[in-house]
């Protein structure tokens, strides 16, 4: 069995599972947020139950529209707060909260070998830890909160092998944009993606979270990494419970094996309006920008902020460009503060915000007007994603976004670091 099958079999109480098989899997963590939890709470009570199956395996994070952007958003956050208080469920509120997919791994709430389901499509992020993690809707989450298990169809797995060494300014974001560019936004539809190869071994945990995060943008059900020394080091100080490390069998079966040589891959930019419109940054010419956003569940981790600071140090954000930087969690924010990154950002003329998903989905903290263009380290550049349907979003890594903020147009970091 491959990695996804191993984890699912163990959680379904079976010796073996095969793609296409319907199983009921026990869940280790069930997540929802301020947009998806209100529906989940309503459906939970419709089930005729009064208590969640295990409060320690459920978590709710208010991150999308908080600090509350308007009265309806405040009502949604209030519903979560009250439900969590009543059920004894951990609720991350303003002041403690961060962007859920940066927060949960950081807090040790998701661990290798887990089955994690979240009412947020980017729940696949936790695959970076060697967990089977996938996004679902509110009703699925409601049922899992009541019963502790969830039905699943075992997905086929596509194995990706990344050979070679990563070039300058190239990281997890570039590998995943490149991959989606190659296979398309439904290239891994219904499938699990298993990311392997020497370039992956070299990738930091933050880079792996970025890659796993965007498995959904290829239609994937999950994006999994093998547990190695870097994973062990990451979870060592965070894990508060037992976990199991699964490894694929030598004779594991894959639906497909796709191999890439990363040596010649440049930083990637996905043009509007699809993550699959990936191009090398050198081919993106004369694209003037009005805004740069650095943050999100994709690129809101400390390594991302260090990259942005490296570029913004001793530079100024271009006149006419709004550069908005959003640390993913309070801990990331503090680290950035202690390392002097926040001062670099402010001196460069960037705005720094408390953690929130905010602008990524056109919620608040950087919504775009008609005709405006934004380079963003987020994950989606669909029509209207960040605001007006007449605006445009270009996806890139934090170094490219920072360099573009300085140049006023999309450029490689090398252009401003000369």
């Amino acid at each position: 069995m491959n990695l996804a099958e191993k984890i699912l079999a163990a959680h379904a109480g079976k010796n073996e599972v095969a793609p296409g098989e319907f199983i009921s899997a026990a869940v280790d963590m069930v997540l929802s947020n301020d947009i998806t939890a209100p529906i989940a709470i309503k459906e939970f009570y419709r089930l005729g139950v009064s208590r969640v199956f295990d409060p320690s395996k459920i978590v709710m994070v208010a991150d999308h529209f908080v600090p509350n952007k308007d009265i309806p958003s405040a009502e949604q956050a209030k519903q979560m707060r009250e439900f969590c208080l009543e059920q004894g469920v951990k609720f991350f509120d303003v002041g403690e909260m961060g962007i859920e997919h940066v927060l949960l791994p950081e807090q040790g709430l998701v661990l290798p070998g887990d089955v994690v389901i979240g009412a947020d499509s980017h729940s696949c992020t936790y695959g970076a830890l060697g967990a089977f993690a996938t996004g679902m809707g509110s009703t699925d989450i409601a049922v899992a909160m009541a019963t502790g298990d969830i039905w699943m169809k075992v997905p086929p797995t596509i194995k990706f092998v990344y050979h070679g060494a990563l070039g300058k300014w190239v990281g997890g974001k570039d590998l995943i944009l490149y991959t989606i560019g190659e296979i398309g936004v439904d290239g891994a539809l219904y499938a699990a993606m298993e990311f392997t190869g020497e370039a992956i071994d070299e990738l930091s945990m933050d880079g792996r979270f970025t890659m796993a995060n965007m498995a959904i943008e290829a239609g994937g059900k999950a994006g999994l990494f093998h547990v190695d020394n870097k994973t062990q080091l990451y979870i060592k100080s965070r894990a508060n419970r037992d976990y199991l490390v699964y490894e694929p069998d030598i004779d594991a079966v894959y639906d497909k094996v796709i191999e890439y040589d990363v040596t010649s891959i440049e930083p990637q930019v996905s043009l509007p309006h699809s993550p699959a419109n990936a191009r090398p940054v050198s081919q993106v010419k004369n694209v003037k920008i009005d805004q740069a956003v650095i943050g999100s569940c994709t690129n809101g981790r400390i390594e991302d902020l260090r990259l942005a600071a490296q570029v913004l140090k001793r530079h100024k954000v271009h006149r006419g460009v709004r550069c908005i930087i959003i640390p993913g969690t309070q801990q990331v924010y503090l680290e950035a503060l202690n390392e002097g990154l926040i001062e670099i950002f402010i001196r460069a003329g960037a705005a720094v915000s408390t953690p929130t998903c905010g602008p990524c989905l056109g919620g608040h903290m950087g919504v775009l007007a008609g005709g405006e263009r934004c380079v963003s380290t987020t994950n989606r550049n669909f029509v209207g994603r960040m605001g007006s349907t007449k605006s445009e979003v270009y996806l890139a890594n934090p170094a490219v976004a920072a360099a573009s903020a300085v140049a006023g147009m999309i450029v490689s970091p090398d252009e401003v670091m000369k």
């Binding site: 319907f22 947009i35 998806t36 209100p38 529906i39 309503k42 459906e43 419709r46 089930l47 005729g48 139950v49 999308h64 529209f65 952007k69 308007d70 309806p72 958003s73 949604q76 979240g118 009412a119 947020d120 499509s121 729940s123 996004g135 679902m136 809707g137 509110s138 009703t139 699925d140 409601a142 049922v143 009541a146 019963t147 039905w151 169809k153 936004v185 439904d186 539809l189 219904y190 959904i216 239609g219 059900k221 699809s274 989905l361 056109g362 919620g363 989606r380 669909f382 029509v383 209207g384 994603r385 349907t389």
Partner: protein, 165 residues
């Protein structure tokens, strides 16, 4: 159950952000969401759609976010079913869970134009284009999914399961 309605046809990768933009996700009442269904791909959809009408699309319908608000908005707008080449998986689960029928049938999509009137027999998966007279058969559901649908969605299915334990 037999459904009948006029077709609204779209292309590939219709994402949940255009089905129900995030600026409306500060509420979750289906009727409120329905006022903005399909707004960012077809601004006139809400004005034109009538109860029973059918959405058609090619591949990967419903890709993007996990927001259950997307099938809720479509269903509450009066749409009786969505027919596509393929669906994104979270949207597929969400639609089945809340009782919005989905059918996978590339042949029907390829041979139907916007404005055609279709008659759909959900149990048999039969799609009849009343405008052209052609008939098509959708891909059958796996047994487990058929049971979920027959029980009236995941909540009803689980209620019954919990009642037996």
């Amino acid at each position: 159950m037999k459904l009948k309605g006029k077709v609204f046809k779209y292309g590939a990768d219709v994402n949940t952000d255009v089905i129900i933009p995030a600026r409306y996700l500060n509420v979750s009442e289906p009727a409120e969401l329905a006022r903005h269904a399909m707004e960012d791909i077809d601004a006139d959809f809400v004005k034109k759609v009538r109860p029973g009408d059918i959405i058609m699309a090619t591949t990967n319908f419903g890709c993007g976010s996990s927001r259950e608000h997307a099938p809720l908005a479509i269903k509450a707008s009066g749409v009786s079913c969505v027919i596509a080449h393929s669906f994104a998986r979270i949207f597929f689960r969400n639609a089945i869970n809340i009782g919005l029928p989905l059918l996978e049938c590339a042949g029907a999509v390829e041979n139907t134009s916007s404005g055609d009137v279709l008659e759909v027999d959900l149990e048999k998966g039969k799609i009849r284009n009343l405008s052209s007279g052609k008939t098509f058969t959708a891909k059958p559901y796996p047994d487990f999914m058929s049971r979920l649908i027959a029980d009236g969605g995941l909540v009803e299915y689980t209620r019954q399961r919990l009642a037996h334990t």
